[in-house]
Assembly symmetry: D2
Homo-oligomer: 108 residues x 4
């Protein structure tokens, strides 16, 4: 189980807004989630996706493809993978782990 | 007004957990927020910070510094800046803009 | 044909040096290159790989895997994909394109 | 002494080519280098800059600004900082360190 944090930037669009492309990506992710492959979460700066790494690579490739289908000629996609194998962690486990430290006043 | 998305990775830590470092970063960000300089939000994969770009650079440099103070010898920090000058946007405006497209069935 | 720019960071290593992990990644990339799938280039901060995007995803997944095989429990991998479909470009074409502008004094 | 790896992506440009923006960034970096503040290197995917971290933040902010001056309304800049404090390293030291491992057959 890994988590990826993805930003897809279409280059050469008409004007600076790219939210229609991001919306299409969310729609695609909803389909993948319905298949039970992944879970995902949109933040103001990126999309977080969790699942098996093999599935995540498939999903990232699929969403990187979407702006091309809408006529964009160049897409820059930035992906951060965070994978830990000593224990299973989901997205919310990571937040809980930080909050536990905060409750301790930032001390161990 | 810009938004940055930051990940600070301490390298050469004892074991794979870095949540104590992330917690310390959150505590520092809380101080900056109390000064009215920035707003921020922790996600499972990164920290989002909004403010004037000049302040954001100061804040990012400060949080990149923290693991060194705890004895770490190497820190890798990854920053994505997204700045738009044609209109003022806050973190939640970006989400709202995507959701508007989703309500339209992903169409313009 | 796409180009990716990859950084693999093993977390929880003994000490701050990770060059032995990077060297192993280069050895793996050499094998992929010998198969004719990709070309690659090591820079002081990352590894650049060019090829078909499908192959690049396979290769990135393979090199992200390597530190786990050496006993590391957490790996953070950062990938920037740059893909352009209006014309075929290789790594050196991109540099040549910037240099052409520089020769013109930064003007078009 | 730190090294940063920077990509500046102007969003909403006419067409997919952004090499004129990258050329302008290189010209600016040349000025900073002439002042003795930094050293830098253009690769096919990014620009590597080494110097004191305080100077690097100033330089990154300056080059992120450039596309706005040319009429672009949105700029996405991606920065990877790699800083090591246990020993001083320059860009070429990092490559040499990996190559030393390669000469040993990828073994320590």
């Amino acid at each position: 189980m890994a988590i990826v944090d993805v930003v897809v930037i279409p280059v050469g669009t008409e004007g600076p807004s790219v939210s229609k492309y991001i919306a299409e990506i969310q729609t695609k992710l909803k389909e993948y989630k319905a298949q039970g492959k992944i879970d995902y979460q949109l933040t103001p700066m990126n999309t977080l996706i969790e699942g098996d790494l093999k599935d995540l690579f498939e999903v990232v490739q699929a969403i990187h493809e979407l702006p091309f289908n809408k006529g964009v000629d160049r897409v820059c996609t930035n992906i951060r993978i965070d994978e830990r194998r000593d224990k299973s962690r989901k997205m919310n486990d990571k937040l809980a782990s930080v909050e536990k430290h905060l409750d301790n006043g930032g001390q161990e």
